[in-house]
Structures are given as C-alpha cells and as structure tokens.
Amino acid sequence: MVVSKTAARRRKKAKLLADRKKKACRFCADKVETIDYKDVVVLRKFLTDRAKIFPRRTSGNCAKHQRQLATAVKRARYMAMLPYVVE
C-alpha cells in the first residue's frame, strides 16, 4: 500500500497533538467561581494590546470561564474601565 507523504505527516501531527498534555483553565485551577468585571487587573491579562479578547485556543480557558470572561470584559468596557479600541 502506498501511503502519501502528506497523509503520513498528518498522522504524525495528530499523534503529537494527542500526546500533548491539555493545560487546565487558569480560572478552574484557581477555583474562581465568578469572574468580576471590576477586577480589571485580571481581565487585562486576557486582552491583546489592541484590547481584543484572546480566543479560547490562546487563553486556554474552559468554555464556562471564557464566557464569563467575555461578559466581564464587556461590562468593564461599558463602565469605561477598559477601552473598546486601542489605536
């Protein structure tokens, strides 16, 4: 059977990804119940330098906490504690 190079490469990559240990969500690790919009210092860690919210694949947050984070950031923006845009 002929296996194409790309297919082999793809399989190798999949194996690597599977072997890599999944990092736990930072908020879960800290046992954070609710993410507070007032805690700008924490929220800021999850913003790019253009004040965008990091995606889950970058932040490593679980779905629950990423959702809470997004809401908290939006509230903080509304209260002018975080910018909507940085130019």
């Binding site: 119940e33 507070d36 007032k38 805690d39 700008v40 210092v41 800021r44 913003l47 330098d49 004040a51 939006k74 509230r75 923006r77 509304y78 209260m79 002018a80 504690m81 975080l82 910018p83 909507y84 845009v85 940085v86 130019e87």
Partner: protein, 132 residues
Amino acid sequence: MLDLYEAMYIADPGLSEHEVETLAERLKAEMVQKGGEIVDLQHLGKKRLAYSIRRKRDGFYFLLYFRLARDLLSELRVGYRLNESILRFLILKKKEMPAQGLRPGEVRLPAQGLRPGAGDKTSPAESGEEEE
C-alpha cells in the same frame, strides 16, 4: 421579596467631592424611599476613563449594594438616565454579597498597560446595556 443588586455609577468629574457625596446620599435616600435597603456604599474615587464619555475624561466612581423590589428597578433606571450628574451606571443582580468581603481596594481600575482610548470618541450605545 427584595433582591440584592450591585450598582456602579460614574458621576460627572466636574462635581466637587462634596457634591459627589451629596449625590450618593440622594441616591441612597431615593432607594430607602422606594422601600429598599442600603447594604453598602463604596466611594472608589476619581478615575481616568478608558475613553471619554460626554467629553469627560475622568469620572467619580462609586459602588452601591442595595436590596429593592424588582419591579421598582426600571423606575430607578429612568431616574438615573435623566440625572445629568450620572455619566453612566450599571446595575447587576447579585445572588449574595461578594464572599471575600468588601475590601476598598477590590476595584482595580486601569492605571498602566493599555493606553486609554485617546481622542474624543464618544462611546457607542449610551444606555441599554445594563442588565438584571
């Protein structure tokens, strides 16, 4: 049944410290008059806004925890919207008082890092984002 709420206000930076105090007292009095109870009031001081609101670059922040009947909330919001001294407010329903207790330093407002939105952009959506 009274529900617990947390409200944050941004008051006009043009007010004097004394006037801010008076405003806060007035808000508290209004709450009591509507049959609510005040749980806590925290003055967070004058802070730089991340972007300007009504051409103001700063604002006096304060935080009020109160209990009020839920059908009186909309009335409260109408009053706040008409109040020129209040640049912005956010009312959130709370299940319970924050467990870690209320440290005055709880609110850590922007100081460094991301530049506060420069220029005179006014914010989108003046109101309507507040939720229960």
